[in-house]
């Protein structure tokens, strides 16, 4: 059956993505895309630390290419690296950052971590942010903490513009789940209308307003 092939392919892609993320380490890569081209496979990685991903003289990329060839039977893998310029507007990077901070500072300081991150995301120009931390924070009883600020689309077609990501932190008391939603400043929202002065004058003259 054809469908089974699709599922297999997607499973394989998922495994490759997870492998690359684990190989490079938490918080290094925000997105991995695999594009199949006639000359080979193109692996596009989005990262905010391209130097760490590439390695000295392209050492890490070479090793990764070799592993991909050997383990996943890629014919000619080409690794492309895209840099994330605005670190705080990329949900996956932020989620990984929070996870690492919670792991380093311990689960007691999660509020400080969250407020600091919220401020930095807001300063980066985001229209809205929401951080959800769920797990045994700060004590033995689990609950969900929600930190939010600004304007965020939740449901419907327009909510597709929201950049969402998840990450997991392993603390002493247990696993903590982190969900991040960011509405970027350049996101196109249907109910947001920009009118120039000329347009307003025209509207008034036509008697529409």
């Amino acid at each position: 059956m054809e469908e089974r092939k699709f599922v297999e392919l997607k499973k394989e892609e998922f495994n490759i993505r997870e492998f690359i993320k684990n190989y490079l380490g938490k918080g290094k890569v925000s997105k991995v895309a695999i594009i199949y081209t006639p000359i080979g496979e193109k692996v596009v990685m989005r990262t905010n630390k391209p130097g760490l991903v590439i390695g000295r003289g392209g050492e890490r990329v070479d090793t990764l290419t070799r592993i991909l060839k050997k383990r996943y039977n890629f014919e000619n893998p080409q690794i492309e690296i895209q840099e994330v310029t605005e670190k705080y507007l990329d949900a996956q990077t932020v989620a990984d950052d929070i996870a690492m901070s919670i792991e380093n500072f311990g689960s007691l300081k999660f509020k400080i971590v969250a407020y600091r991150m919220l401020k930095q995301i807001e300063d980066a120009g985001a229209m809205g942010v929401e951080l959800k931390l769920s797990g045994k924070l700060p004590g033995a009883r689990a609950r969900t903490w929600r930190f939010k600020k600004g304007y965020l689309k939740k449901v419907g077609d327009s909510s597709k513009v929201v950049n969402k990501a998840k990450a997991v932190a392993q603390t002493k008391s247990g696993t903590v789940g982190i969900e991040v939603s960011i509405l970027r400043p350049d996101a196109k929202i249907h109910d947001h209308i920009d009118l120039t002065k000329k347009q307003i004058v025209e509207e008034v003259e036509n008697g529409k307003v």
Binding site: Y115, W145, R146, F147, K148, K149
Partner: protein
């Protein structure tokens, strides 16, 4: 809750500073809303509204 008369004595700079302070307080109050209740949120929102009106007037 802070009265409008008291707020109007503040200078431009103080008003801006107070707005940013209360903004953070509002976020914090919303996080702990399930524990602390919503009275604090309401008060903060009203004070913020007064301050914003003042800053617009000035």
């Amino acid at each position: 809750m802070v009265k409008f008369k008291e707020l109007s004595k503040l200078t431009d700079k103080e008003v801006k500073q107070k707005i940013s302070e209360l903004d953070l307080d509002l976020v914090k109050a919303r996080v702990t809303a399930s524990k602390g209740g919503k009275v604090k949120i309401r008060e903060l929102k009203k004070t913020l509204a007064r301050l914003k009106m003042l800053s617009r007037k000035k």
